[in-house]
Each structure stands twice: as structure tokens, then as C-alpha cells.
């Protein structure tokens, strides 16, 4: 077989699983910092990976409202783990970023704005819901009239290897939100894991280039069928669902409904849902001033509408109660987001359900609100 051949964009090829190591190697030689799901301190994180064996082979996650467990079952698949609390947001929109430094020189302030830098990341294992989340953050950070330079520098260089979800978790509802389990967005490569092989769908020139020269075969009708059947099964196995037919009106027309108060009685206002949410993009700017008052550093940090300080302004807090903060969050995700950006701010990844210590479930709350109104 000629070693310089490469598959056409849009085609699907099949590789032996161990060949994936050559693919990772190729990404590294091209200067990528490869990150993917990894087991660390007995839990699941997104971290640098060097080889196939760094992926969580044999693990599954059990996810329910307010509960996450990483369980080793010993199966032989590398991509069966449904993501945990972390998301790709932490690489594209880092939790801390230096915006500028000010220094007083001879009585005048001098400003130094650091040029944003980021490694060229290769994201391994981006789920359909996660790819949709990246595209939603693109809408916020890469607008035609304004782009966020910190986000842009990481986003433009990122290589995305997406993964079709074969075994969704208990809190997943991507099928309802139209973002999965089949990857729908633009990825450089999209992987489907079968028992013996990885199928790779080529989505870009970059993806094609990475596969060039690797020993692949074009995917047979048999394996393509197996992949399709697996994805159909996955759609049926979705742990949760959300009826979006009457959204955003259901929420925006009922902002004074007593149900919000009922949620407020359970909500801790801890901000976990917003921090694990792959689309939440709110941040705060904090200044650190030197003791002599001659130097300051402004930093951008992740913030949350559940932080009472977030809505504090001259005259007081515009959202002083916990229920008003929850309502703000949910009515943005499923209501005003659509008005603002044309999509929901929710991709159905289920993180806010799993990682809420109080087990508040956005799919249940929407259904309950609807029931109470009728």
C-alpha cells in the first residue's frame, strides 16, 4: 500500500486500535499538545495524554442526579467513558487569564497588555454535545463585531477528534437537544469505536493530513452498519429527555411562577452547575494592587450568576434570592439564549444534573413547570 495516500474528506476509514498510537504520535510531531480523558486520583479528568493506554479503557461512569461514580468493569473499549465534571472549556476559556498590568512610572500609568498565547491543543474524544458546546461558545467569543483574543488564540489552533457516543449515561439528554449521540458538528476527525476497530470519518483537510500514510482501510458496509446500529441503540438508551417544543415561551411567560421558589428551597447557590456547564461563559475581572499602589494586575476569572456578588451593583443586588439566581440561569440557558444567539445554551450533556449536590435536574424542572402550568 502506498504510504503517502490519504482518505477523502467525508469518507470513513477503519484502523486497527493500536494504530491510534501512530495517530497520536503524528499529532505530537506536528506540535500539538494532546489532551483527552484520563483517570487521575481515582476520578476522570481531561489531561495530557501520550498514548492509547492513557485513555480510560475498561471504565464506565455511572451518573445520576447529584452523583458520579467512575467504575472499572474491565471492558476493552477506550471511549466508553461519558465525560465527567471537566469540559474542553477549561482549555479554550481558561479559568484564570491575565488581562493587563498597569504600572505607575513618573506619575503616569503605563499599560502592558500581554499577548494571549495558548498551545495548539488536540482534543481527543470530544462528544457531540461537547462539540455543540464549543460552537455555542464560539457564538459568544468569536462574533463578527467582537472576538475574544484569549479564546480565539486557543480555538483557532485546536484540532478536534470527536467521538460518537455508544453508551450514554443516566443524565444524558443530547438526543432531545439535537446534539448527539452522533456527532453533528464540524470536527477534524470523528471516531466511532467498535469492538475491534476504530472508524474515523474525515471532516477536514487537517484530519486528512493526520491520517495520511497511516495503515487504514476504507470502512466496509458491515462495520458502518454496526456503527449505525450502535448509535441508534444509544439514542434509545439516553438516560433523560427534555421536551423543547414549547421553549423558550414556557419559561419566559412564567417568570413569576411559584415553582421557581420551590427550586430555590433546594438550590445551594453553590455555582457548581455553571462551572461544569460547557457553555457557561461568565467571568469576573479582579484587580490585584501592590501595597505601594504603583502596580496592578487585572485578571479574568470564571464567575457565576449564582455568586451573590455577580449581580451586586450600585443600589444593591438585583438577584438577592437563591430562586431568582436559579431562574436567571435556567431562563438564560433555555430562554433568552435563543433570543440572543439563535440556539439554546444547553446541549443536553447532563453535567449540571450530575454535579448538582442538591440533585436538581433541569429536565425534571422543565417538565414540572409545564405540568403545573397546565
Amino acid at each position: 500500500m502506498p504510504s503517502d495516500r490519504s482518505p477523502e474528506i467525508g469518507s470513513t476509514v477503519s484502523i486497527q486500535k493500536h494504530i491510534f498510537n501512530a495517530l497520536l504520535e503524528k499529532l505530537k510531531t506536528q506540535g500539538y499538545e494532546v489532551v483527552g480523558p484520563h483517570v487521575e486520583n481515582e476520578t476522570l479528568v481531561y489531561a495530557p495524554i501520550q498514548k492509547l493506554e492513557d485513555l480510560p479503557r475498561g471504565y464506565v461512569t455511572e451518573q445520576e442526579a447529584g452523583s458520579f461514580r467512575l467504575v472499572y468493569t474491565g471492558h476493552t473499549r477506550y471511549f466508553d467513558v461519558i465525560p465527567g465534571a471537566q469540559s474542553w472549556k477549561q482549555f479554550l476559556f481558561p479559568s484564570h487569564a491575565n488581562l493587563f498590568n498597569l504600572k505607575k512610572v513618573n506619575g503616569a500609568w503605563e499599560m502592558e497588555t500581554p499577548k494571549p498565547t495558548a498551545p495548539a491543543y488536540a482534543f481527543i474524544g470530544v462528544r457531540g454535545c461537547e462539540l455543540a458546546a464549543i460552537q455555542i461558545q464560539d457564538n459568544a467569543f468569536l462574533r463578527s463585531d467582537f472576538t475574544d483574543p484569549i479564546y480565539r488564540v486557543a480555538r483557532e489552533k485546536a484540532f478536534i477528534l470527536a467521538v460518537n457516543c455508544m453508551h450514554p449515561a443516566g443524565t444524558c439528554f443530547c438526543a432531545s437537544m439535537g446534539t448527539g449521540p452522533r456527532v453533528e458538528g464540524d470536527a477534524d476527525l470523528t471516531l466511532t469505536e467498535l469492538e475491534d476497530v476504530f472508524l474515523l470519518n474525515v471532516g477536514s483537510e487537517l484530519g486528512r493530513n493526520i491520517l495520511a500514510g497511516l495503515p487504514y482501510e476504507s470502512a466496509s458496509a458491515f462495520v458502518l452498519n454496526a456503527a449505525n446500529r450502535g448509535l441508534e441503540r444509544a439514542t434509545l438508551q439516553m438516560g433523560r429527555s427534555m421536551d423543547t417544543s414549547d421553549l423558550p415561551d414556557l419559561i419566559l411567560n412564567n417568570l413569576d411562577h411559584p415553582h421557581w421558589r420551590a427550586i430555590g428551597e433546594r438550590c445551594l447557590s453553590c455555582a457548581n452547575c455553571t462551572q461544569v456547564c460547557p457553555t457557561c461563559f461568565c467571568w469576573d475581572a479582579t484587580d490585584t494592587l501592590s501595597l505601594d499602589g504603583n502596580q496592578t494586575r487585572r485578571e479574568r476569572v470564571w464567575d457565576s450568576c449564582f455568586n451573590p456578588g455577580y449581580s451586586y451593583q450600585a443600589g444593591g443586588n438585583t438577584r438577592p434570592t437563591i430562586h431568582s439566581r436559579y431562574r436567571q440561569w435556567m431562563s438564560h440557558k433555555l430562554g433568552t439564549w435563543k433570543v440572543q444567539y439563535g440556539t439554546f445554551g444547553c446541549t443536553g450533556c447532563g453535567r449540571c444534573i450530575t454535579w448538582c449536590p442538591a440533585a436538581i435536574d433541569i429536565t425534571v424542572e422543565v417538565a414540572d413547570l409545564r405540568k403545573e402550568i397546565r
Partner: protein
């Protein structure tokens, strides 16, 4: 404007000295502090002491003896700005556990001649005795917060201290929630940020040493935690710890004990 550097006095009441040590541990910034402030009284750092009045007094520890109750009044009279430093000074600290029990009975068990002891039945925060201008929580305090408060005072601005919970700090540093991931009881959702989420980052639950947040839902958190208890009464012990005498944590523990009866 005169070129007089503001004077600083640091006092210790009933405490372990850890918060004063947090000031001394600021090795990189200590010279800057000494440059910006005139350290007039700080026995942990220097024997040299100069009489008041002082511009800034930092007070560590809680009030546990009749002598301390008098002494803090005199310090207040001598200080323009008084900062309560650390959870002993803001909530009574670990020694305020005596407030929930019979301090006399303990004294009789431990000492041969308890009659020589002069102590109050309670260990109480500084603000219960004199007006306090600013409270910095933590056991010990976070050195960044100490610097922030000093910098704010020197530059005549409000200090930037977080109103949110430890959860936000966990997420910013990439720590996975120990409560959801491992079922470890954690009162981080109700605890003021500022420590940098040290405990969860090391795989254990937060025990609230930075004190309660102003806006949280302790009823809901208690419901969650009582279901996770590994030993009976664990939730009460979590709330009744270093910040146990802080009003909202105190009421929560009292309520749980009442329900248990």
C-alpha cells in the same frame, strides 16, 4: 499629606499563633509590608514595642478570660482601624467548642487546682466585645487576603474579598467535587471562599474554616449531608468545628441535635 507611615499593631488573644505566622510567612512580601507600614507592636516578630495609638490593629484570637475582655477594650481605644484576623477572632475558633458544653467540668477533670484558673465560660469573637472594622476568616487566614486588606487600607479602597462559596474555587482550579464524585461530606457549598479550596484539592471535604457564606441554603445542604453520613452525627460535627460558633453554623448544628432527640 504627611509622609508619616501608618502604624501597625498585631495582638494575640486565645489562639495558636498560626494567623500571625501567616503574616510572617509572607516572605516575599514582608519587606514591602515593613516598607509601607510602621510596625509598632508585633511581639511575634519583634521585642521592640511602641505605645499607641495605632492606625491599624490586627487582632488574632478569641476572648476567653476576664483579662482578655478588658484588654480588647483598651486596644480598641488605641486603634483607628481594628481587623479581626482568623476564625478565632471572627467566630471564637476551635476553643469555642466549650460554649456547647460545661467548661467547669472540663477544668476540674484536667487540672489539679482549677480554682487558680481565671476563664470565661465561653470563647467569643472579638466583635462580641468591641466594634470591628473588618473580619478576615480562616484557620489560618489566607496570606493573599491579608495582603489584599492591607493594600486596600493603604490605598483607600474596598478590599476585594469573595462572597461566593468554596465550590467556585474548586472548579477554577479543576478540582473534581468530592461530594458528588466520592460521596464525601463537604460543607464547601456553604463556606466562604478564600482558602483556594485546599481540602477538596487533597481529596477531603471542606469543614468550613473560612466561615459561612452570607447567601446559602443550609437547610438543603443539611438534607444532603445527613444522607451521606458515614457515622451518626457526622453532619453536626462538620458544622460544629472551627467555625462552629458562627451564628448560621451554630443554628444548623443546634437544629440537627434537636431533631435527633
Amino acid at each position: 499629606m504627611t509622609h508619616h507611615k501608618p502604624t501597625l499593631a498585631v495582638y494575640k488573644f486565645s489562639s495558636c499563633d498560626g494567623c500571625q505566622l501567616s503574616i510572617l510567612n509572607m516572605e516575599d512580601e514582608l519587606l514591602d509590608i515593613a516598607g509601607a507600614l510602621d510596625i509598632a507592636y508585633f511581639l511575634e516578630a519583634t521585642r521592640a514595642e511602641r505605645p499607641g495609638p495605632y492606625d491599624i490593629a490586627i487582632v488574632e484570637g478569641s476572648i476567653t478570660t476576664p483579662h482578655e475582655a478588658e484588654r480588647i477594650k483598651e486596644i480598641r481605644r488605641q486603634s483607628k482601624v481594628l481587623i479581626a484576623l482568623g476564625t478565632c477572632a471572627t467566630a471564637g475558633g476551635i476553643q469555642s467548642l466549650r460554649n456547647f458544653t460545661d467548661a467547669k467540668a472540663y477544668a476540674q477533670t484536667v487540672y489539679d487546682h482549677p480554682e487558680f484558673l481565671h476563664y470565661l465560660d465561653t470563647a467569643t469573637p472579638i466583635a462580641e466585645h468591641v466594634p470591628v472594622d473588618m473580619e478576615l476568616w480562616g484557620c489560618p487566614v489566607n496570606k493573599g487576603q491579608v495582603l489584599e486588606v492591607i493594600s486596600a487600607l493603604l490605598n483607600n479602597r474596598r478590599p476585594n474579598l469573595p462572597a461566593y462559596s468554596v465550590c467556585l474555587e474548586c472548579k477554577r482550579r479543576g478540582t473534581i467535587c468530592v461530594l458528588v464524585d466520592k460521596g464525601i461530606p463537604c460543607i464547601g457549598p456553604a463556606t466562604q471562599a478564600g482558602c483556594g479550596a485546599i481540602c477538596p484539592a487533597n481529596g477531603r471535604g471542606c469543614y468550613g474554616c473560612f466561615g459561612p457564606t452570607r447567601s446559602t441554603n443550609l437547610d438543603s445542604l443539611t438534607n444532603i449531608l445527613t444522607k451521606l453520613e458515614r457515622t451518626p452525627g457526622e453532619t453536626v460535627r462538620l458544622f460544629r468545628g472551627i467555625s462552629g460558633y458562627a451564628p448560621t453554623f451554630r443554628e444548623t448544628a443546634d437544629m440537627l441535635l434537636k431533631e435527633a432527640k
